[in-house]
């Protein structure tokens, strides 16, 4: 997969969909293309977050630790991003991510991502918009859940 294909992939990630292609290209160029074998761990729950991952091909499982061992709570498909919260604020990883099949990801480093946001405010605004969207979504769901009680 080439740099320009990666840019296409990034564009399909909602978080980046509003960002100029030229900036996405820079983001892709400064990120590492990494491959994982099936069963390899991308990161573990409780680790400090230093990067976000965009799935380029393959699928990955999101696992949460429990007393009975890890439980799979969701699956990641190509074009999805994981770990983005940890690079925006200093929280540790809330789940473990493991490759289900051979996996190709774009590893966006925290310092690079923050640096880009600082350099290009228009990109930051786009990302803010997506986050605010998510927040209003979550708030609406919360209200629904409360009123349903």
């Amino acid at each position: 997969m080439l740099l320009k294909d990666e840019v296409g992939m990034l564009q399909r990630v909602p978080l980046f969909s509003g960002v100029e292609p030229a900036k996405l290209k820079l983001l892709a160029f400064t990120s590492d293309r990494v491959t994982y074998g099936a069963g390899q761990i991308l990161f573990r729950q409780g680790d400090e977050g230093d990067a976000a991952y965009v799935i380029l091909s393959g699928t990955a499982d999101i696992l949460v630790e429990s007393d009975a061992g890890p439980i799979k709570v969701a699956e990641l498909e190509p074009n999805s991003i994981v770990g983005e919260i940890a690079i925006l604020c200093n929280v540790s990883r809330t789940a473990t991510v493991r490759a289900a099949v051979p996996l190709e990801v774009l590893r966006i480093r925290k310092d690079h991502f923050l640096r880009l946001m600082k350099e290009f405010p228009e990109m930051t605004i786009e990302i803010l918009r997506v986050l605010a969207d998510r927040l209003s979504h979550t708030t609406a769901e919360l209200i629904d859940a409360r009123s349903a009680k």
Binding site: L3, E6, F29, T30, Y36, D111
Partner: protein
């Protein structure tokens, strides 16, 4: 030191000065003879004086002297020679005199030069010797760069002066006096006029020079302060950048330079003023001769002949006078310099020479206890650090010094290390005052390490072994030319008052490290490095260094075995994808295009980096393979992409680390180049522009940069070009490249690259770490661990050890203290740069290592955390400069005192 320069020179060069005066006087004989000779030649054979008759002869080399009371005595009648023969004979004598005069001059100048250089060597050595004996507190007040500039620059002019110090005034004074006397003989009154003017010169000029002396002293001080400041800027460059004070420094330096300029300019003005006056006075004499003498002649009171004789005699006076005055100026100049330097080096409380005397034999162990006896220490500002503390350290016991913030335990450790002198009380070893013990005892039987580490600009190994180099232990036997050289060294050293300790002797005291010689020293080194947890770091340095294959033959010889071991290991663990090996017939996708083309490591500058694309042979290989155009187009594409990606970013942006093709500074140049080359056919592009573009493609790695520029066909062409490149390699490039050969060690590459013999895949997370831990393991299994560690020890630590981290420096210092296996090991918070866990680990290891093989040194450790006290036999607690508690860890814990308080 001797405050008067003249006396200093006289004391050390009396004999030589007298000798040279004698030689100079002797040289006057042929010199004056050569004056007389031209007249003899012209008057005699050329004009025919004495040869009026055809066939007339004249005696040649007739020796006769008019001795008083006896009359004319004939020693030799001489040869009778005709007119032409006499001409030849006299001309030959002239030639002979020219040669003799020249030889005299050569000898005198060489002799004077050598005399000066020897004195310079003596004085420089004396200065450094004093530096080595300065009391420790003195160094808190001097800047190292100032001391260095005094030793190096300020005494330098002395060398030139010393040879002339006595001979010049004697000679010139003699000449001036003779000329004066000659004038006096011609006419007393005219002579008196000349004498009066000379008198004015002698009195006035030195008076005017006083200001020159003041100015040159100022010049010297300001220049010295400047070099001190420059040294400070270099040492404190971090602080300058951190606080954005570079412009403050610029202002300070500019102000200093301005002041120096003003002083120097004043100096010139005044100097040339003095010169002008001097010349004027010298010229005023003939003026007076012409006017007064002429008047007297007209009046008929003076004979014309006399006046002409006086005037012609006078022309010999100004020359020597001027030179004499110049000499005096030089004398004052060096005298000022000398005094300035001597003042700086005259310090009270110099360490007596016998304390530092060279001791070859083993001084024996320190078997007595080390005690502080009502010891008081103050800091430089006079604040009390320790107040009448008494404490005894018995041989073999381990003692932790625990200190509150103002406790003063560090001051005690410094007193034990003799780094600071007691204000009151003393430190004794048995009954001897510690300060009176020779360094041969304290420096060998005691060790000290603190958080303030100094490392020399040398390899790790040399820094580590530095603590063992007390004396030239093994006499070296020289033969042949080396023996002659050594004899010369010894002779010259003694002539300049330097010691003749042989620097090429083996200074390492193996026995004190518990070794018998160079062969088993490494074991001791490895043990102390392991103890301070530094081996891994050094091993990494070793892996990253290239190796001197003539020294590390085993590593080079077993490289094939190592590579195979790595491969099979990677296969076993299912990690073969991690490293893509170099194969002569295959393209390595994880390596750059440049590497794939060369398939070797550049050993010189001809084929390295940017020079590669411009190399004519390499360009011709590309052309033959039809690669030149492809790579050019590829380079254009890369340039476009790179500029598109990076053009908006400021040049210091961290993203540029990702851009392997060009530096941020080159981007504008490539932008204009790209504009210029756009739509221009390949054939019309100049060679140098092509090279600029092609070179970009060499850094390209497809999996990393992902521009999609590498095709199967291109890869095939590159592999083909590779073999063609080596087939016709011209002889001048044979040594510029080392071809990758799976069976050979590549000297130009690092150890790690040699072991990998391939490239780590770009798209494997944490691949480098995993590979490294596998490599450590393999090295250990194959018994090459020590070999690579040894390579790492060659790493140069840089100025003040700054190429190492603070923690590494401190560990190295502890290792150095430990290596000499002392009787008393004094540790003054030595590992403060490490975290608590690591400190405890190293402490435990050091305690164990120090006592290995039944050795039982006393260990005094100023600990950073009271909980470390647990590991010691005894704990002493300091608060406010007092020893407040002293006992075993358990008793102090039970006491509920200040120790318990500090622990919580």
């Amino acid at each position: 030191m001797e405050p008067s320069l003249a006396r200093y020179i006289w004391t050390h060069t009396r004999k030589q000065q007298l000798w040279i005066v004698m030689i100079v006087v002797l040289s006057m004989i042929p010199y004056f003879m050569s004056f007389d000779l031209p007249k003899l030649i012209v008057n005699g054979p050329i004009q025919g004086g004495g040869f009026e008759q055809p066939g007339a002869t004249q005696p040649f080399m007739k020796l006769h002297y008019d001795i008083p009371f006896i009359g004319d005595v004939q020693f030799f009648d001489g040869f009778q020679l005709g007119r032409e023969a006499t001409l030849f004979a006299l001309s030959m004598v002239f030639l002979l005199l020219v040669v003799v005069n020249g030889l005299f001059k050569l000898y005198i100048n060489t002799y004077k030069g050598r005399l000066g250089e020897r004195m310079l060597r003596r004085i420089r050595f004396e200065l450094v010797d004093r530096v080595l004996r300065f009391p420790p507190f003195y160094f808190k007040r001097v800047k190292s760069a100032e001391v260095a500039t005094m030793v190096k620059d300020e005494v330098e002019p002395l060398g030139g002066f010393i040879g002339d110090a006595f001979i010049q005034p004697v000679l010139l004074g003699g000449q001036a006096l003779t000329a004066m006397l000659f004038i006096m003989v011609q006419n007393f009154w005219l002579g008196m006029i000349a004498a009066v003017i000379v008198g004015i010169q002698i009195i006035l000029i030195p008076r005017m020079r006083r200001r020159l002396i003041v100015l040159s002293r100022e010049r010297q001080l300001t220049a010295r302060a400047l070099s001190g400041r420059v040294g400070e800027i270099v040492d404190g460059i971090g602080a300058v950048h951190i606080h954005d004070t570079s412009n403050y420094e610029r202002a300070d330096i500019a102000a200093r330079l301005g002041r120096i300029f003003k002083i120097r300019y004043d100096l010139y003005q005044w100097k040339f003023m003095v010169k002008f006056l001097n010349n004027f006075l010298a010229q005023i004499t003939p003026f007076l001769f012409y006017m007064i003498g002429g008047y007297l002649v007209i009046q008929g009171r003076l004979d014309v002949g006399q006046l002409v004789a006086v005037i012609s005699a006078y022309k010999d006076l100004p020359g020597p006078m001027k030179e004499l005055i110049d000499w005096d100026q030089a004398r004052q100049d060096v005298q000022v310099k000398y005094q300035q330097v001597v003042e700086q080096f005259t310090v009270d409380g110099l360490i007596p020479p016998q304390i530092e005397a060279l001791t070859i034999e083993d001084p024996g162990r320190m078997t007595n206890s080390l005690s502080a006896v009502s010891l008081s220490m103050t800091d430089d500002g006079g604040a009390m650090l320790l107040d009448r503390v008494s404490l005894q350290v018995k041989p073999g016991e381990t003692l932790a010094l625990v200190s509150s913030a103002t406790g003063g335990a560090e001051a005690l450790a410094e007193a034990f290390a003799r780094l600071n002198r007691p204000e009151n009380g003393r430190v004794v070893s048995g009954t001897d005052d510690l300060l009176e013990l020779p360094e041969a005892v304290t420096g060998r039987r005691m060790s000290y390490s603190s958080s303030d580490v100094f490392l020399f600009h040398a390899s790790l190994r040399e820094n580590l072994l530095y603590g063992l180099k007390h004396a030239p232990l093994t006499p070296v036997t020289y033969d042949g030319a080396a023996a002659v050289q050594r004899r010369w060294d010894v002779d010259e050293a003694s002539r300049s008052g330097n010691p003749d300790f042989d620097i090429s002797s083996d200074w390492i005291d193996y026995a004190s490290a518990g070794a018998t010689g160079p062969q088993d020293l490494f074991e001791a080194v490895r043990r102390v490095l392991d103890a301070v947890l530094l081996s891994r770091d050094i091993l990494d340095l070793g892996l990253r260094s290239s190796v001197d294959v003539t020294r590390h033959t085993e590593l080079a010889g077993r490289i094939v075995e190592l590579r195979a071991a790595l491969r099979s290991r990677l296969e076993q663990e299912g990690l073969s994808g991690l490293v893509v090996p170099f194969e002569p017939g295959a393209y390595n996708k994880e390596a750059t295009i440049g590497e794939n083309l060369l398939f070797g490591a550049a050993a010189g500058t001809e084929l390295a980096d940017r020079a590669l694309a411009a190399n004519p042979y390499f360009a011709s290989v590309l052309r033959q393979g039809g690669l030149d155009r492809t790579l050019y187009e590829m380079g254009l594409e890369i340039a476009e992409q790179a500029i598109e990606l990076f053009a908006d970013l400021p040049p210091d942006h961290p993203f540029f680390q990702q851009l392997a093709f060009m530096t941020p500074e080159e981007i504008p140049a490539y932008e204009t180049l790209l504009q210029r080359l756009k739509n221009r056919p390949y054939e019309a592009v100049s060679e140098s522009d092509r090279a600029m573009i092609v070179t970009l493609s060499f850094a390209y790695i497809e999996p990393r940069h992902r521009f999609g520029l590498l095709t199967e066909e291109l890869m095939g062409k590159i592999v083909a070009a590779r073999s063609r490149f080596y087939e016709n390699l011209p002889p001048e490039l044979q040594n510029a490249i080392e071809r990758y050969d799976p069976a050979k060690y590549i000297a130009a590459a690092t150890v790690m690259d040699n072991v990998l013999f391939g490239r780590v895949g770009n798209n494997h997370p944490d691949a480098p770490e995993r590979i490294r831990s596998i490599v450590y393991d393999i090295l250990d299994k194959l018994g090459l661990y020590n070999e690579v560690l040894d390579v790492g020890l060659d790493f140069n630590v840089g100025s003040g050890g700054r190429r190492l981290t603070g923690g590494q420096r401190q560990k190295l210092d502890v290792a150095r203290a430990l290596l000499k296996r002392p009787d008393f090991l004094i540790m003054n918070r030595p590992l403060s740069a490490l975290d608590q866990r690591m400190q405890e680990q190293v402490l435990r290891n050091v305690l164990e290592e120090a006592r290995r093989d039944g050795h039982s040194p006393a260990i005094v450790w100023v600990v950073t955390n009271p909980s470390m006290g647990m590991m010691f036999d005894r704990v002493a607690v300091f608060d406010a400069g007092q020893l407040v508690e002293d006992g075993t860890h358990e008793t102090l814990l039970a006491r509920n005192g200040i120790f318990k308080e500090l622990l919580s």
